[in-house]
């Protein structure tokens, strides 16, 4: 598998347009972030990629072949959903066994090892897990699946700080060991920002951008200072995310950070600094 192509995807739920003519491609072997606000359409897009729902218009193909009811392709994708689809009455270890049935590449020893690391008791039943541990369980299953494409939808829901730290590290260790395509969909950006190689940002059903994190962060910077002076600096520059506290204004300028005008900034007594992905994201999706 080399490439996922999303072509002109539009999805209506009744009268509601969930996705609007979304087109982009994803090359294999990278860690992608699918970012957007609640209800932006991320999960809808993921459901479309994995044959869970069907597009109103447009097509999704992997290596030129449609995903529609394509079992062979689907065997190579593991999708950790936000919703829990596992039967509540079943013990975790049994679910691992059955997941291995459907995904021959599933590594049960690795799954057990991960469960232990996270303090997950696999003798428990699904319904007896807390929100956090349900997420952990689903994430462990996803990591152990060993498929070429692993999709995580809101993997850190309910996880405490320690578990979040552990999960990101396990994701990276997993990816380092076996480079595959990973898609992490979330609205909790800051911690995951550096884990990602590329981001796809969705706003109100539309594609806002698809860029590498590095390009994105080097293509923007923050300018802070006295409001009128800031305005002078940004006169001919593209900018977003204007924030004002009293007379101090902060703005995100959208140009290559190497082009920043230090001299002018010095004259105007402005502070120039890098921008956090989270801040940039909020500004772009407002």
């Amino acid at each position: 598998m080399n490439i996922i192509e999303i072509k002109g995807i539009t999805k209506y739920y009744g009268d509601v347009k969930a996705l609007d003519n979304v087109t982009f491609t994803m090359e294999m072997g990278k860690i992608y972030g699918l970012l957007g606000r609640n209800g932006a359409g991320k999960t809808t897009l993921l459901n479309l990629i994995t044959n869970r729902i069907f597009p109103t218009e447009g097509e999704i193909s992997i290596d030129g072949g449609s995903v529609y009811e394509n079992d062979k392709m689907l065997r190579n994708i593991f999708y950790m959903t936000e919703k829990n689809l596992y039967p509540g009455d079943e013990k975790l270890k049994n679910i691992f066994k059955w997941t291995r049935q459907f995904y021959p590449s599933f590594d049960i020893d690795y799954a057990k090892g991960l469960a232990e690391k996270f303090g997950l008791n696999i003798n428990k039943k699904v319904k007896d897990l807390s929100t956090g541990y349900t997420s952990i369980f689903k994430a462990v299953a996803a990591l152990a699946s060993n498929t070429g494409i692993i999709i995580f939808d809101e993997p850190i829901l309910g996880l405490d700080a320690n578990h979040r730290d552990m999960l990101y590290k396990e994701m990276l260790a997993n990816y380092n060991h076996n480079p595959r395509t990973v898609i992490i969909s979330t609205h909790l950006i800051e911690e995951v920002a550096q884990v990602l190689e590329e981001v796809v940002i969705i706003k109100e059903g539309k594609l806002v951008l698809k860029q590498s994190v590095e390009d994105l962060l080097s293509g923007a910077y923050c300018v802070t200072g006295e409001a009128s002076k800031v305005d002078r600096y940004i006169e001919d520059r593209k900018h977003v995310g204007d924030e004002k506290i009293g007379n101090i204004k902060t703005v995100i300028v959208l140009e290559d950070i190497r082009n920043k005008d230090k001299v002018l900034a010095g004259e105007l007594e402005l502070e120039l600094s890098g921008v956090q992905l989270q801040k940039l994201f909020i500004a772009l999706t407002n």
Binding site: K30, A193, Q194, E197, E214, L217, Q276
Partner: protein, 125 residues
């Protein structure tokens, strides 16, 4: 190795510099193995491509080299290379900003020189 994710300096540059610092301080000795991209990636929760870029930078500058099947090693003479590079950048990276800040605060050249002399006396005696 401390990485400032909020800084405007790209992470890969920070990684490269941190490794250089460790080489200068002797923590990574010449011809010894340094931390791998994978280890950096997992420990600091960074995408391996970013970590790899930092390492590659040092390889290109002749500071690190790759031993197939083993890992990344410090080149012989790396310390010298780094110090030379840093010396060349010292003026640009430290002196100019110092003068900049001083002029902002209205500190004169003579005052700067006094401060420097005084600090040397205290620091190194």
């Amino acid at each position: 190795m401390f990485l400032d994710f909020d800084s405007e300096r790209p992470i890969y540059l920070q990684i490269a510099e941190a490794i250089e610092d460790n080489i200068i301080r002797g923590i990574f000795e010449e011809e010894s193995q340094v931390i791998s991209t994978t280890e950096i990636s997992v420990k600091y929760k960074i995408n391996p491509a970013t970590a790899g870029k930092g390492v590659k930078l040092l390889v290109d500058e002749g500071i690190l080299y790759k031993k197939r099947g083993v890992g990344m090693f410090v080149c012989a003479g790396a310390k010298k290379t780094i110090l030379k590079k840093r010396r060349e950048n010292f003026c640009q990276g430290f002196i100019l900003p110092l003068i900049d800040e001083a002029s902002k605060l209205g500190i004169t050249k003579e005052e700067i020189i006094d401060m420097i002399e005084g600090s040397f006396k205290n620091e190194y005696h």
